[in-house]
């Protein structure tokens, strides 16, 4: 089985291009056209067991979201679909993960900005048509197209930067 690093689709071995999103599968993921990760070392909080860069995400895994300039990481236990944004009483919008207290308003986070989707073996991030976009490792996501998230990835909602780490028990 070859899991597409872009969309998570399960391709048969021997395939050179993803049967779903058309991205090349034959290149070494390390050399794919992703910009260099800008990882800030926050080693104290990282679980020593987590293997950096993995895309595998099992039922026991949880996620730590390290938001830049925020001391305490946010711990998340992803559900099938977890919306991310900022709450707004006027429109009665309440995302599952509310970033209001992290300066979401001034950093251009939409009310319903993105979502983390958990599938059987991986975690994907999807932009839900946000005004200022969602970036994964510097690449802007096309709305409604899920991308596989790997341990240590940089995610940007508008101007709000966060790093995501997997924790496996």
């Amino acid at each position: 089985m070859m899991i597409c690093p872009f969309c998570g689709f399960k391709n048969r071995p021997g395939a050179f291009f993803c049967d779903d999103c058309g991205q090349p599968l034959h290149e070494d993921p390390g050399t794919m056209t992703m910009p260099t990760r800008q990882i800030e070392l926050v080693t104290s909080e990282i679980n020593a067991k987590s293997s950096w860069g993995t895309a595998s995400f099992d039922a026991q895994s949880t996620v730590m979201l390290h938001i830049r300039d925020v001391r305490e990481p946010v711990q998340i236990r992803p559900v099938a679909r977890m919306t991310i944004g900022r709450s707004d009483a006027a429109t009665e919008t309440y995302p599952d993960l509310d970033l209001t207290s992290y300066g979401a308003m001034e950093k251009g986070v939409s009310r319903i900005h993105a979502a983390l989707l958990r599938t059987e073996e991986s975690l994907t991030l999807v932009d839900l048509g946000s005004s200022n976009g969602t970036h994964l490792n510097g690449q802007r996501l096309v709305a409604e197209q899920p991308r596989v998230v790997r341990d240590g990835d940089e995610i940007r909602f508008g101007k709000l930067v966060a790093h995501i780490y997997f924790q496996t028990r």
Partner: protein
């Protein structure tokens, strides 16, 4: 193996089968045979019937080349054949060594047929004579520049043809009208005058036109000729599509090929594809009236440059292997229907190859060692002083290993697959729309736009993006966008030299 059958002898080079040079010494031949036999011997490949076939082949080769008298006779015979023109079949697999896995896996083969290089140099004289019928749509929608351009194209085609060629022309709307009955091309002015009289009116009923065209072709039908119909339409045919397809399948058996050309946006692409595919012809999209003349002319010029006609491809995978799809890359890009024994491939032209990309599924848990994957046979009639049936055979074998193979696929396969993936994405978007899955269709088109942009096809990427938005809002593609994405992703597969004859005419 049919090795003793001289008709297949021609295509099989015993020296290359053993991997030795034609001037190899007896010792070299013996050593080469021993090496190959160790690899392929049935005793070491007990669970591998494919190896048995391979072993037989090299044994026959050794029996011939290892015996001084037999080798002399073989050399003499192949020297005689060497003067005959032939075509060659070259197979390139995506991987030669495969890791045995607990799950099924895919493998790709590039099958290329090359005409004899001497054919394009030797004599400039044309070997192929045409029996050509133009079946032209003259429905109301053709009125104006379209019909005018078609007339110009027909005039130029008449100019291209010679006294040795047969030409006929049928115009159709709701019914067929025989404008030029099948005739040798002698009085060109008279023929052209008749073309000029055509006027546009009425609807589009393809079956009638096609049937009348076939009647004309049959008047002179002969294996000596390239019997070809060019159907040009700008509209959907009503209610008679199935009848037309049945007719096409019947005439294909008699060696008649049909090429379908759609002009503008309103014609039925699936119908025209199937019509052409079932006879070995090509189907193409001409996106503007202005492109018609050059397009038709190029098509006819290629036809009259035929080296071998009535080419057929047969693919026999091993019992545990599944052939999943076949896609013709050259000389025109289109999917092949593989649910028949011999797939019609049309004509092989001088200096141009026919190439096909095949996708197979290999079973899980393959035993280690050498095994065969598939046999591929190409047959065709080589035109010349006389017609000769010729066939080329290739048995593809692979090495199954427990090691983790990290082999880069040949760039020709990778390149073709990358582009074929794009074509399939727009097909999937269409399929999703047919099932009413707007979200999936939008996603496929957005992904397509991303890939096209990454490959530097910015114009087409833009079009895919627009269609994605269109689909998201209206749950349908525009007619123009649908055709453009389909035929232009296809034409990406062609080498630059003959892009001109695969739609995208006025770019």
């Amino acid at each position: 193996m049919g090795m003793k059958d001289t008709s297949t002898f021609e295509g099989i080079d015993l020296y290359s089968m053993l991997g030795v040079a034609p001037n190899a010494s007896f010792e070299d031949i013996k050593a080469a045979y021993r090496r190959a036999a160790r690899r392929l011997h049935p005793d070491v490949n007990r669970n591998n019937p494919g190896a048995g076939v391979q072993f037989q082949q090299i044994t026959v080769a050794y029996e011939t080349l290892g015996d001084t008298d037999k080798r002399k006779e073989y050399d003499k015979k192949s020297q005689q054949h060497a003067d005959n023109l032939h075509f060659t079949l070259r197979i390139t697999p995506s991987k030669r060594r495969i890791t045995s896995l607990p799950e099924p896996q895919v493998i790709y083969l590039l099958a290329e047929v090359f005409p004899d290089a001497r054919a394009s140099q030797a004599n400039q004289k044309r070997d192929s004579r045409l029996n050509l019928c133009l079946v032209l749509d003259r429905s109301n929608s053709m009125n104006g520049p379209r019909l005018n351009q078609v007339k110009v194209a027909a005039h130029q085609i008449i100019d291209q043809l010679g006294e040795q060629d047969i030409f006929s022309l049928v115009a159709f709307n709701d019914r067929a009208e025989l404008v030029i009955p099948a005739t040798t091309v002698t009085d060109k002015a008279a023929l052209k005058a008749r073309v000029s009289m055509m006027t546009a009116s009425g609807g589009t009923e393809i079956f009638q036109g096609l049937e009348a065209g076939i009647t004309e072709i049959r008047k002179f039908l002969a294996p000596r000729l390239i019997n070809h119909i060019i159907l040009l339409t700008d509209g959907n045919t009503f209610g008679d599509a199935d009848k037309a397809l049945d007719l096409a399948k019947t005439v294909s058996k008699d060696g008649i090929t049909i090429s379908g050309m759609g002009l503008g946006q309103e014609w039925n692409d699936r119908f025209l594809d199937e019509l052409a595919n079932s006879t070995g012809g090509s189907s193409s999209y001409i996106n503007s009236a202005g492109a018609v003349v050059r397009f038709l002319n190029t098509h006819v010029r290629h036809l009259s440059n035929t080296f071998a006609d009535r080419m057929h491809l047969s693919i026999a995978p091993d019992p545990d292997v599944k052939l999943e799809s076949a896609f013709k890359l050259q000389p025109n890009a289109q999917p092949l229907i593989i649910d028949q024994g011999f797939v019609p491939m049309g004509s092989l032209q001088k200096g141009r190859s026919i190439s096909t990309l095949l996708q197979y599924e290999l079973p899980a848990k393959m035993p280690l060692g050498f095994r065969s994957l598939s046999r591929i046979v190409v047959i065709g009639d080589i035109l010349g002083e006389r017609i000769r049936k010729f066939q080329a055979i290739s048995d593809i074998s692979l090495e199954i290993t427990s090691e983790n193979v990290n082999e880069q696929p040949p760039s020709a396969i990778l390149d073709a697959l990358g582009k074929l993936t794009l074509y399939r994405m727009q097909e999937r978007a269409n399929d999703a729309l047919e099932k009413g899955d707007v979200r999936q269709a939008t996603r496929q088109l957005e992904n397509l736009a991303l890939r096209l942009a990454a490959m530097g096809e910015s114009e087409l990427a833009q079009q895919a993006k627009q269609e994605a938005q269109q689909v998201a809002h209206t749950a349908a593609l525009t007619d123009k966008g649908k055709k453009a994405l389909k035929y232009q992703t296809r034409s990406l597969l062609l080498y630059a030299e003959n892009n001109e004859d695969n739609g995208n005419g006025d770019s």
